[in-house]
Subunit: 697 residues, 2 copies
């Protein structure tokens, strides 16, 4: 696909282009979002000018002085380059020139970084090559923008003694990273490819696009082919998808400028556009990414990593007016051709709410390794959203959470995921990295809203084993009255076949849909089956009398996360049906539940065997079958009532759903019934009949 024919050399020509400069210069005065974004960049550039240039010999690891200084330097280079392009003020170009000359005077002498660790290939400026690549992606853009303000002799010095040696280090010394199909590899090829365009070295671009041997077995195009599913889902999950997108989009933007004939944004059926869209569809209506796998839960699509992606997606790919909504919430655009278009259209009042859609997004490069089902009903704070995770393992950051569900309503989580066990940047908490409890707790199956067999985890929490298998989609459909997704997993627990079917069903008697969830497990031998529902808020009612442990609280188990659970209470449910009502925020959630045979309900909370108090609070009610070959758990969750804490009024604390019971737990179809305000409903799920998968009578 990739011609080596490269367009005529002009500068700048990446995010900001020579031909568009007059429009951007005028735009920074006319369009509020571009103006405020530019003023921020200019302030950064002015800060740079105020301080003496400091290019220390690399010494410290992440967070240390030289690490932070080299990081600040690339931000300064980028800011001064941008400020120069806009203002043509020679001081900014001089800064870029001087700091890059300072690097050029030293870089070749620097050895491999002294704080190298075996786990990550080392850079020269930073302890890992990843950061060196990030440095270069930013610095080369700043250089490109300041290019015309730097004397040719100095450019020669900078290119020969800094950029060319950096490319050499990345493509030769760090060949393994450069040729890796992984997001670190993306940063590496972006660094080399962008440098190739700016320095007019087609050789670099060739390697970037097709790998160090130019065979096409690795490199950028191969990364696009393999790191995303055909739907645009990135296998590590949404939190990492956000991060991985950044180098993809910036390098793609440069390709589209220099080699428009590649039609990079159309490559693989418009994969990059899909990937941006999936990153946004991977959020709840409050903008928070679904915390699938290792993820910090407060992260939203407002985070800076997505700014370039959204700007470019809007300007160069789709002009979906919902992207403007996201840009408004990001409060920033890149000072660039794309940012100009976004800010201009926002100023023109074209913004529309970002449009969330129910969907199945496949995982796996061929789209055949399971995926993620998302059901949504309503908009904004009122949106109800159900996520069924039936994706592949997602590599080292993957959680053992096959068929996990996440449930959102009223602007936040109802059945949450714990996310990652980590306090970002808190030195005293494992240096801010993933804590031991990320492995012992957060990744374990019981930390999720999914079935746990025999108090262990999927694949006994073995990543290598888990990576061999993936769940499979059984059914997905989206109509006005019913949204349903169903998936199966047959390998997580040897000899146990699990199917989960979750649906949002709008019945005439109620304003909002019910969440209906059916979990079935079948085995030739007997097992313990636990199905936790993690909840927020407080239990205010139950069909059984809670008798919580008064003293000598004990851990529920000894491994696979169970060692971190306090067992607060346990009740038998001899009639195999009951309910729990939780008051959460301004309303109530009642989960009616029923089983194919009597079971018990355990109330648990997080905190046992946590000597450093690294874990956050959390509570679950867990449906627990002590011994059975086959088990079906059905639940119906209704949001109801209203709590007004200021007026001190409460209404509708009782659920309208009653009498849930499993009628037939047959493995081919599950039949169950319940009443809504005395109107009886019988639901049949026909696992093998896609034309009549879910039947409501």
């Amino acid at each position: 696909c990739c011609s080596s024919l490269i367009q005529a050399q002009v500068h700048p020509n990446i995010m900001l282009s020579q031909q568009n400069l007059p429009a951007v210069r005028s735009g920074v005065n006319s369009y509020p979002l571009l103006k405020s974004s530019y003023l921020e960049v200019k302030q950064e550039a002015d800060n740079a000018l105020k301080n003496p240039i400091s290019v220390p010999v690399p010494k410290d690891g992440g967070g240390g002085f030289t690490h932070e200084q080299h990081k600040r330097n690339y931000q300064y280079i980028l800011a001064c380059g941008t400020a120069y392009a806009i203002t043509q003020d020679a001081r900014y170009a001089a800064y870029v020139k001087n700091i890059l000359l300072a690097y050029a005077a030293q870089y070749e002498k620097w050895p491999v970084h002294p704080k190298r660790e075996n786990s990550n290939p080392p850079g020269k400026m930073f302890w890992q090559i990843l950061n060196d690549c990030v440095w270069q992606v930013n610095a080369i853009q700043g250089y490109d923008m300041a290019y015309n303000g730097i004397p040719a002799a100095d450019r020669k010095t900078i290119e020969e003694h800094l950029f060319i040696p950096i490319v050499k280090y990345i493509t030769e010394d760090s060949k393994e990273t450069f040729d890796r199909i992984h997001n670190h590899g993306t940063w590496a090829v972006a660094a080399v490819g962008l440098t190739g365009y700016v320095l007019n070295k087609p050789e670099y671009v060739q390697m970037a696009l097709k790998g160090s041997d130019k065979s096409g077995n690795t490199g950028f195009m191969k990364q696009i082919d393999e790191l995303f599913s055909p739907d645009g889902y990135y296998t590590e999950g949404f939190y990492y998808q956000r991060y991985a997108l950044l180098p993809f989009m910036i390098f793609a933007k440069a390709i589209s400028r220099y080699q428009p004939q590649v039609q990079i944004f159309k490559y693989r059926n418009g994969l990059l556009a899909k990937a941006v869209n999936i990153a946004l569809q991977g959020t709840y209506s409050n903008g928070a990414f679904f915390p699938v796998n290792d993820a910090m839960k407060d992260k939203t699509f407002e985070s800076s990593e997505l700014i370039s992606a959204v700007d470019i997606a809007y300007a160069d790919i789709s002009s979906d007016k919902g992207f403007l909504d996201v840009a408004v919430r990001q409060k920033k655009v890149i000072v660039s051709d794309a940012g100009l278009k976004v800010a201009k259209d926002i100023a023109a009042g074209l913004t529309q709410p970002f449009s969330y859609k129910p969907m199945w997004m496949s995982d796996g490069k061929n789209g055949d390794e399971g995926g993620i089902g998302i059901l949504r009903y309503g908009a904004g704070k009122k949106q109800q959203c159900l996520v069924l995770k039936a994706a592949a393992q997602g590599m080292g950051h993957g959680h053992f959470d096959r068929l996990n569900i996440l449930y959102y309503d009223n602007g936040g989580e109802v059945f949450p995921d714990y996310g990652a066990a980590r306090f970002i940047n808190i030195e005293t908490k494992g240096g801010g990295g993933y804590l031991p409890e990320n492995t012992s707790w957060a990744k374990q199956t019981v930390a999720h809203n999914t079935l746990v067999v025999d108090e262990t985890s999927d694949f006994k929490a073995n990543v290598k084993e888990a990576s061999k298998y993936h769940p499979e989609l059984v059914y997905f459909s989206n109509t006005a009255a019913i949204q349903v997704v169903s998936a199966k997993e047959n390998n997580a627990y040897p000899g146990v076949q699990m199917v989960r079917t979750s649906a949002l069903i709008k019945v005439a008697e109620l304003q909002k849909p019910l969440l209906v969830d059916v979990v079935t497990a079948a085995s030739a031998t007997s097992h313990q089956y636990d199905l936790p529902f993690w909840y927020l808020g407080n239990i205010i009612d139950a069909s059984f009398k809670i008798e919580a442990v008064k003293d000598n609280l004990k851990a529920l188990g000894s491994n696979y996360g169970y060692q971190h659970l306090w067992l607060n209470s346990q009740n038998n449910i001899p009639q195999a049906s009951g309910y729990i009502t939780v008051m959460q925020g301004q309303s109530f959630y009642t989960t009616s539940f029923a089983g194919s045979s009597p079971f018990s309900v355990k109330l648990v909370s997080i905190g046992a065997n946590d000597p450093q108090m690294n874990l956050l609070e959390g509570k679950a009610f867990m449906l627990s079958q002590a011994r059975a070959n086959n088990q079906t758990f059905v639940s119906v969750t209704e949001n109801h009532g209203n709590v007004d804490p200021i007026a001190e009024t409460t209404s509708g604390a009782k659920s309208s759903v009653s009498g849930l019971s499993v009628i037939s737990p047959d493995q081919n179809k599950t039949i169950f019934s319940f009443k809504v305000k005395e109107k009886p409903y019988t639901i049949t799920i026909n696992y093998h009949d896609k034309s009549n998968f879910i039947q409501i009578n």
Copy 2:
């Protein structure tokens, strides 16, 4: 003071006056807040017209059908009266006439309410007389406003067979409540007094003002004399002050109309104005009332009970433009002369932020029964606020929390109070009333941020005993750099003298003030001294190595609230000095602490011995001295750093305060020192020298 001379009879003449009607009629079209408030009232009135009148024979207790229907009826009467006054539409007056005739046809036949309980004197419409009085306060206002639209013959029937018998029931059958110096008494005298004005019966007004025997030993004036301190503090605390104010202000408004010569708003040095101001000063900058004694914690000054009070206070007493700020947040005014003025001035742009002030507010009718100290620094979300509760017991709703502190910052609680153990209106939780855990936990000393001696509570949690004594103010001062309040309590624990001194101190090295807190206890015999700090968020650092209990978690004690605490960890502090850093929301709080001798730190959490799971989550670190005669605990709390969860950046996680140590724990003066960013500070508190109480070197 009270002349029996009553002004000429016109209608309406309570919240809305005949002479002001044209202005209000025009105002409901001109001023947005009055307009929206009126439209709400009119919609309620139109609802009334739509439904058939229902005046059922009283039968049900609180929350039951007849209870709710009679409640709805008085709301309809008030709404239709208002709608008639504004529109002169005869249908509204006819509704008031018809429903009151329906009551008049039955009222005299009704016996005392069948659901009477021994704890509360019964009404005839409702299970307690309080609700009958509330009914009458509202109905008589509606009648007054519809008066001119009701034929004289019908008025005669309504007055003779409804209002006069109601007054008779209140003043004779319920004489005890009527003559009680208590907020139930206030509703009773307001009901009778308002009826007296509207029916032109000076006799009723006399009784309302001076008690059923007209001696002045009871009645409204006496209630003003005795229920508030000279500063305007209501002894049950702010949550109940809000509720108690309503009948005071409405009846006072009527007195000011009919008997202006009484100068009711100037009575007792303008007590009612002070009481409104104290109700508002009794909130943090987010509007939430300080949860002193039994209190629901989400209650703010936006609650409807304060609307009349704020409207009247602004229109008739003080015209403090900060009241407009409160009215804006209440989103409503009363459709009345006062509401007109408020809405008009808001529309004119006169609103100013409500002005919070550091203050000492005395408790006790003579102002000599302790009080509440409030320190405040900064405004809005950035306001730091320290509340020292050194008030009297506050009757049956009082908590055993002598010298308790509450600390607020960054828009919310930092060292919170548990508040009341209650789920309002949740039938399954003790019918929505105070739960048993309100007594076993929420009222107990250890549930507060104050000193606990020998694992018991103040006065062994005996209300009668506690009501005999009160703390005393030692010192209060408020300067730009230092705000300080100090109080002592010598009776809560026999033989133990306690003094607490809390200060907000602004040092040059930091942007925000430090909270400095000194607790001393002295006794001739040895005791255990525990000082809990209840906190929100997560501990991310400590000067000692936390080793939390891994399994078999045990309750800390067996009584006085200790039975509800899990003991999560315990560390000795042999050097008598240490710190704990908590990450809360977007920043950090480090509390450095030191003692006069080595002590231990216990980390505790709420939840033991709570079989019904009635308690909410809560965590504290507790400074604990196992055995000593005298004990001093000093702490310095700094807010620092910044957490941006979206950008995933964290800064300033380390406190600038270090090396806190107690130099002299002498009972006459406490001397301690610490460093702020290496600048040493020595603070001396001279308990007996008011001219030099706190010295900073």
